[in-house]
């Protein structure tokens, strides 16, 4: 699946917001770590969701606060890892 920034952001936001009332008001720039919203299950789900849906692979070394602080930083990480679109 090709990666579109807005589609990816909406997809990850939907996954985060589905976690319950505390997560329902999260936006792309919400600090998930400082807000105590990023537990191990959500983080693992986010990584595996991206791997399965977009084919972007991660390892344990990628699980850094800089990469997973917010949905926006995750989107940047995924876009930076995905293959560049083929030019026509």
């Amino acid at each position: 699946m090709s990666l579109d920034k807005h589609h990816l952001e909406a997809d990850l936001l939907a996954l985060v917001r589905s976690r319950g009332a505390d997560h329902a008001r999260v936006d792309a720039d919400t600090d998930l770590i400082d807000g105590g919203l990023l537990d191990s299950l959500l983080l693992t789900d986010l990584i595996l969701h991206v791997e399965e849906r977009y084919g972007v692979a991660f390892d344990a070394g990628d699980v850094s606060p800089a990469n997973f602080r917010s949905v926006a930083t995750m989107v940047d990480l995924v876009l930076g890892r995905s293959p560049a679109p083929q030019s026509a």
């Binding site: 505390d22 400082d34 191990s40 390892d59």
Partner: protein
């Protein structure tokens, strides 16, 4: 193949007399040696510490990682608790290894992983190791996943026979750990972080003991709660996390357990101490001194 236990059992003169009452109680007495100590830790200090570390660190750190490290350091300080039963003898573990429970993302079940020699690893090393195992399990490529799959397919009858046979050998012999499933027998303590977002407050919690005598201790951390405390002439709001510790009176008495719980509580309430190397072991009280 690895022998997780020391060669010789703890000598009788190191076992407090009241522990020996429980240790040698006849089965007909139906004695319950389980003790649970509930306390609370300063959640504000731990949260500030984790926020700071997550601001500049290379690994996302959570309360679970802090609990693993704190438990390992406290066990290194009080090695008399880093033990298990084999029959009616007590053996010390060679390493301070900690088990922790997690939700297996692929199966939706609880699974357990072992952080070996956790007292020798930094908080970041523990964090990275745990994340690696969680991701492997989530992909269905964890080292234990194939074995778990085979066990799940085993009929209830053979499952029971397997448990009986393995349990008999494990209860009576100082077995080596030979595979991925029984590597979990390499540690005395299981930690459980139930402070996930949305978890209800815990007033009381009695962790079960896994049907395996190596599960000597369990430490469970609950969700953050607000509390009003007297401070100076007034009142202030503070945040705490409940901590429940389950122990076995055949292995430790309430005094030993209290000192251990105090060490864990101190480390989690002053989390900067989690970065210090393991403290020198405290001598276990002799049987005569504890009477």
């Amino acid at each position: 193949m690895k022998w997780p236990l020391q060669d010789r059992p703890v000598p009788d003169d190191r076992i407090p007399l009241y522990n020996r009452f429980y240790l040698h109680a006849p089965r007909a007495s139906h004695v319950d040696p389980t003790m649970v100590w509930g306390t609370e830790i300063d959640a504000d200090a731990l949260q500030v510490f984790l926020r700071e570390r997550n601001r500049s660190g290379k690994v996302v750190l959570t309360t679970a990682h802090a609990l693993i490290r704190a438990t390992a350091l406290a066990l290194a300080q009080y090695p008399a608790l880093n033990v298990r039963l084999v029959g009616r003898r007590i053996f010390a573990f060679r390493d301070v290894s900690i088990r922790t429970a997690f939700v297996h993302r692929r199966t939706g079940e609880i699974d357990v992983l072992l952080v070996a020699a956790a007292d020798q690893k930094s908080l970041e090393q523990i964090g990275q190791e745990v994340w690696q195992r969680l991701l492997q399990a989530g992909r269905g490529k964890g080292p234990r996943d194939r074995d778990r799959g085979r066990l799940r397919e085993t009929s209830p009858f053979w499952f029971r026979q397997l448990l009986r046979m393995y349990g008999f050998l494990d209860r009576h012999f100082r077995l080596p750990s030979v595979g991925r499933l029984d590597e979990l027998r390499g540690g005395a303590a299981m930690v459980n972080d139930l402070s996930f977002p949305g978890a209800p407050p815990i007033r009381s919690y009695k962790p079960t003991r896994f049907p395996d005598p190596s599960d000597s201790l369990n430490l469970t951390l609950g969700a953050i709660e607000s509390k009003v405390v007297a401070r100076g002439d007034g009142f202030a709001e503070t945040h705490v996390m409940p901590l429940f510790v389950r122990a076995d009176h055949r292995l430790v008495d309430a005094y030993q357990l209290g000192r251990f719980v105090a060490a864990v509580r101190d480390l989690l309430s002053h989390p900067e101490r989690l970065d210090a190397p393991a403290a020198a072991p405290q001598a276990a009280p002799t049987a005569a001194a504890s009477e």
